[in-house]
Amino acid sequence: MSRGLLMLAAVVAPLMAQDARQIVEESQRRGRANSQRYEGVLEVTGADGKVTRKSWVSWRLGSYGASKAVIRFTAPAEVKGVALLVINHPDRSSDQWMWTPAIARDRRIALQDRSTRFFGTDFSFEDLEERDVEQYDYKLTGEESIGGAACWRIEARPRQTKSSQYTLTRTWIRKDNYVPAQYENFVKEQPVRRLEQKDIQQTQGIWTARTLEMTDLRRKSRTVLRLEKLEYNIPLKDDEFTVQALRREQ
């Protein structure tokens, strides 16, 4: 009996792994756009309940694996103009630079520093990058309901362990529209951050979560990011996503 179960497991496990990869690929394919722009409104709630509001504008050129993105703060006033450039690569972790207009300096965010929180939010620098499907090993570990929607539960482990602060990411992908409903990130098997994707709407034919709630499970703080004025496939140029462009855009 037990040998039979083992044989069954040996046959089914690769199939499930394949399924998990296909689900993630399909999820990424459905979210694909040539470009994206939105205005992000952030509400950071600290462990003590104090609320701080921030906002940024985000531009992205390309999709998973080879995209480039710029995030530029518009509020609060003291960080207006501070910007982050993220250049994602299909085969490795992203390159990131931060521009600080007050001192007119750009600074590369090193890979080992990406677990740091991004400007007081609960997103880390790494959470702002997009990873290609090829950078992870996937495993379908079950099915669960998130917010009343049936989801696949998939575990992803980075193939290059040093490329991510997280050792494991558990993702719940909705069966109806393939939008990830929730991510749970682990460090050494301990959950450290949870990202809930809510308010899923169709914009220009792409199902998109318009509210992202990131919870830092260790600090007991959370950041809610609302995507406003979201647009896809707007004309953006490649040379708007360089360190030089960070500087000239102020």
């Binding site: 600290g46 609060p76 006033a77 250049i87 677990s115 030089q244």
Partner: protein, 402 residues
């Protein structure tokens, strides 16, 4: 009337189209010095700064404008409107254009002309290659970068960039006022003559490469040192020393690099300076630093070194060289989204000069930020830092940003 209405409509449309942005702040700072200084009886210095910057974007053109307006209690700021554009004055201008430039972009080419801030280099503890960045050193240990008038041409891709800069006139760094505590004077009466400011241009080139594992650049500068040397003439008739600032010709060959090494980022920057002026040293400055962000901490620590190839005679004022032969460390700790701590320390390798500073900063709502801190300076007379040992101080700053 119609024209005015059309103009307002056009401006409103432009603003709505998100081509216009602005920012600024009003800041008041108070410095409390518990010790008296021989040439300055004041123990409290208050200052206020209003800064406003606006940006407007057309398709390939961008315009930037910014102004500073200042006031203080200690005669550090001019009391009349002058030096609005060319910032070569002894005191801070009452009102100054900080930024007025036009930027044209076409493909890989960007040209910016006008008044602007230009920064080179990668290191933080000291930036020897940062030759187009004069500073306001009225407070030696808390300086601010000054804009310059220049044309800057940048050509390249994300991976390789060539930066060419031409500035028609030198903007000198602002040095401590002789009647104030940050000027440490000799034991004889001193009279300052009008400075000998160079009239010629300065130019520089920098090539920067960004690779997957490392970034590095090479730079060249030809112009003048923005930090002065002094001509000293004894005036026996009046029993005093006449001193005159002058800014020697300077040529710089520099390089900088940054690469992640294990758990830290290693940064290195070095520059060799030569001068055809017989009073100016030929020397090299170099910096090696590591930095790391972990959890709520950000840490930078390094060593700044100096090698004098040819020592000449003129005395000078150079905080850049004064911070060398020293270990420099900075740390920041984020307490929460609104509160942070910053620590800084400079220790000369011979132990004759120490500077340490701690600051606590807290945001008070979306616009206000209060900062309190204290700076401790200790050392001996002969040391660049040590000679300011009477200038340990407490800081209280309040800023409203908009």
């Amino acid at each position: 009337m119609r024209l005015r209405a059309a103009l307002f409509a056009a401006l409103a449309l432009a603003a709505r189209a998100q081509n216009f942005s602005q920012r600024g702040f009003i800041e008041t700072t108070s410095l409390f010095y518990p010790q008296d200084a021989p040439n300055d009886s004041g123990n409290v210095v208050g200052s206020a700064l209003f800064r406003y910057e606006a940006f407007y974007k057309l398709t390939n053109l961008r315009f930037a404008a910014g102004v500073d307006a200042r006031a203080d209690t200690h005669q550090q700021t001019d009391r009349e409107f002058r030096h609005i554009w060319w910032d070569r004055s002894r005191r801070r201008p009452l009102f100054a254009v900080r930024r007025l430039s036009a930027t044209y972009t076409r493909g890989r080419l960007t040209v910016e002309a006008g008044k602007q801030l230009i920064r080179w280099g990668k290191a933080d503890v000291l930036t020897p290659t940062d030759r187009f960045a004069p500073r306001d050193f009225l407070n030696v240990v808390d300086s601010e970068y000054l804009p310059i008038t220049a044309a800057r041409l940048t050509y390249g891709t994300q991976a390789d960039t060539l930066d060419l800069i031409f500035s028609p006139r030198l903007t000198p760094s602002r040095v401590p006022l002789l009647n104030q505590r940050w000027a440490v004077l000799p034991p004889v009466p001193v009279h300052e003559l009008d400075p000998d400011l160079p009239g010629g241009p300065q130019f520089g080139a920098r090539w920067n490469h960004i690779g997957a594992a490392a970034e590095y650049s090479f730079s060249f500068y030809n112009g003048y040192d923005h930090l002065p040397l002094f001509r000293v003439q004894p005036n026996f008739a009046l029993l005093r020393a006449d001193i005159q600032r002058f800014y020697p010709q300077m040529r710089m060959y520099g390089a900088d690099a940054a690469a992640p090494v294990g758990p830290v980022t290693l940064k290195a920057e070095a520059a060799y300076f030569t001068s055809n002026n017989p009073s100016a040293d030929n020397y090299a400055l170099w910096v090696l630093q590591v930095e790391r962000q972990a959890g709520e901490w950000s840490l930078v620590a390094g060593y700044a070194g100096e090698v004098v190839a040819e020592s000449r005679s003129a005395p000078g004022f150079s905080p850049v060289r004064g911070y060398t032969r020293a270990v420099v460390a900075r740390a920041g700790y984020t307490l929460d989204v609104n509160r942070s701590l910053a620590l800084e320390a400079v220790v000369r390798q011979n132990g004759k000069g120490v500077y340490a500073k701690a600051e606590y900063s807290q945001a008070l709502g979306p616009h206000w930020r209060a900062t309190v801190g204290a700076a401790l300076i200790r050392g001996t007379d002969g040391d660049f830092l040590g000679k300011y040992r009477r200038n340990s101080h407490a800081i209280l700053s309040l800023r409203y940003s908009f």
